[in-house]
């Protein structure tokens, strides 16, 4: 198992290919992102964004090539890697028949969080759900579910946080809370976000990547991005669709 130093890229992807039968979900994808970066991944439906996220989070093995997160290989070091990543999806990934506290307690046990009660209390306050901690999740609104999902993802102090369309279906208040939470933990974490919202993605990112047909069309640091040119490239990519 490799140990990450400050020079180790947060994401190191080389020739990554993921085959689904005859179709290539990812086709020789290569890029690097430094630690502490916020990578926004854009692309049309079917471009391979979610596949890339699933490979980077160890849910799908690559067919070819390598991918490392904080120096850990997604295949060889999968268990160690899972302990240092958090995942927030548009789907909250919570048990509806358990209370907010029971859900967090369950995942605290899954990650071996020390002193789980204190950590759960702290996070429930952060996501403004302390007053609903004993309510079953089935009774929560979409925004509340997403806030609890954020607490679930942050329980174990992950170093890299993956976000899959996290703003999808959120009301403005929930979006503000998510913005604040990201801002609070932004400095200590690397973020990888898949989004269709170009403005939001560019506002948050330090690096931006466009995928189409499973291939990298563009990967750039935010400082080098010409917003209009990037928007035009993105829109022409989305307009071209996928094969």
């Amino acid at each position: 198992m490799a140990h990450a130093t400050s020079d180790t890229p947060a994401l190191q992807v080389e020739g990554l290919t993921r085959q689904f039968g005859l179709r290539r979900g990812l086709d020789e994808v290569s890029f690097e992102v430094p630690q502490g970066a916020f990578l926004s991944i854009f692309g049309p439906n079917g471009a391979g964004k979610t596949t890339l996220l699933r490979v980077l989070t160890t849910l799908l093995p690559p067919s070819k090539g390598t991918a490392k997160v904080n120096g850990l290989d997604v295949q060889a070091d999968a268990v160690e890697l899972r302990a240092m990543i958090g995942f927030i999806s548009h789907n909250p990934l919570l048990y509806p028949d358990l209370t907010a506290e029971e859900n967090l307690r369950f995942f605290a046990d899954m990650y071996g969080v020390p002193d789980p009660e204190a950590r759960i209390r702290e996070l429930l306050v952060d996501v403004e759900l302390d007053h609903r901690r004993l309510d079953v999740v089935r009774t929560f609104s979409r925004g509340m579910l997403q806030r609890l999902s954020i607490a679930r993802a942050l329980l174990h102090h992950p170093k890299v946080i993956f976000l899959d369309e996290p703003y999808s279906g959120l009301d403005p208040h929930a979006m503000d809370i998510l913005d604040n939470l990201i801002a609070q933990v932004r400095a200590e974490h690397t973020f990888v976000m898949v989004s269709h919202d170009l403005d939001k993605g560019l506002e948050l990112c330090s690096h931006a990547l466009i995928l189409a047909n499973g291939k990298v069309v563009s990967v750039q640091p935010a400082s080098e991005i010409d917003h209009d040119l990037f928007s035009a490239t993105y829109r022409s990519t989305v307009g071209s669709g996928v094969s």
Binding site: E80, R82, A83, E102, F107, Y111, G112
Partner: protein, 234 residues
């Protein structure tokens, strides 16, 4: 630092128990199904009159009821994880996949054992005690039921994991479950027969069949444990 597998095992098992105690969906449907089966048998045997020695067919009836009731439970054992996508969140955690298998199988065994504990006294009362009583000691019946339930829960948990991602998961589970259960059920029915009918050399004959059950449990549960990483990741 890697989290303790024991803590993860307990968390999954406790969660399944808490959720079941909150809804009673699985236990209620499994128990009602078994009781309904018994009522139907009782009606049929009453209609058949007194010429039939019901104790001869009771072992088969018991296992027909428990095989189908276990399939009811197994079909539901991954429903919460699948429907809400929570299985992804579990797979994203640093857990060895076989720990998920062991915890889920333990939960399924627990629920099946509870249903058996509730319904077997009714079975014995209706079909055994009122028709000549148990031929062998009661512990034989308990050992036969528990031994075969271990195998059903273990193999069933593996098959439920495979079938949960398929269309028509009920059908797929039944299709895979029945052939794999055949050797276990052969031995379980024989051991249960000896427990109910008794006879000369009942105890050695019982243990011969239970050795078969134990061997099946050991081989199939170990195979399921070994295959689980591949099955749940597929």
């Amino acid at each position: 630092m890697r989290p303790s597998s024991w803590r993860q095992f307990v968390a999954i098992l406790r969660k399944d128990i808490v959720m079941e105690l909150r809804t009673f969906e699985m236990l209620t449907s499994m128990t009602l199904y078994t009781l309904l089966t018994m009522v139907i048998y009782q009606i049929a045997f009453t209609a058949a009159g007194g010429g039939l020695d019901v104790r001869l067919v009771t072992p088969g009836l018991i296992w027909v009821a428990f095989v189908f009731t276990s399939m009811l439970g197994l079909n539901r054992s991954f429903v919460h994880e699948k429907d809400q996508g929570v299985i992804e969140a579990i797979l994203l955690s640093p857990i060895d996949r076989p720990v998920i298998f062991l915890a889920k199988a333990a939960g399924n065994l627990l629920f099946l054992t509870i249903v058996e504990a509730v319904t077997i006294p009714v079975f014995v009362f209706l079909f055994v005690l009122s028709r000549g009583g148990l031929g062998g000691p009661a512990w034989m019946l308990v050992v036969a039921l528990f031994g075969a339930s271990v195998g059903m829960a273990g193999v069933g948990t593996l098959l439920a994991t495979i079938s949960v991602n398929t269309k028509g998961r009920d059908f797929i589970l039944a299709l895979m479950f029945m052939p794999l259960m055949y050797p276990l059920l052969t031995a379980a029915v024989q051991a249960t027969s000896i427990a109910i009918l008794g006879g000369v050399d009942a105890v050695p004959a019982f243990w011969r069949w239970m050795a078969w059950v134990g061997g099946y449990d050991a081989i199939m549960v170990l195979a399921a444990y070994g295959l689980y990483e591949f099955v749940i990741g597929a």
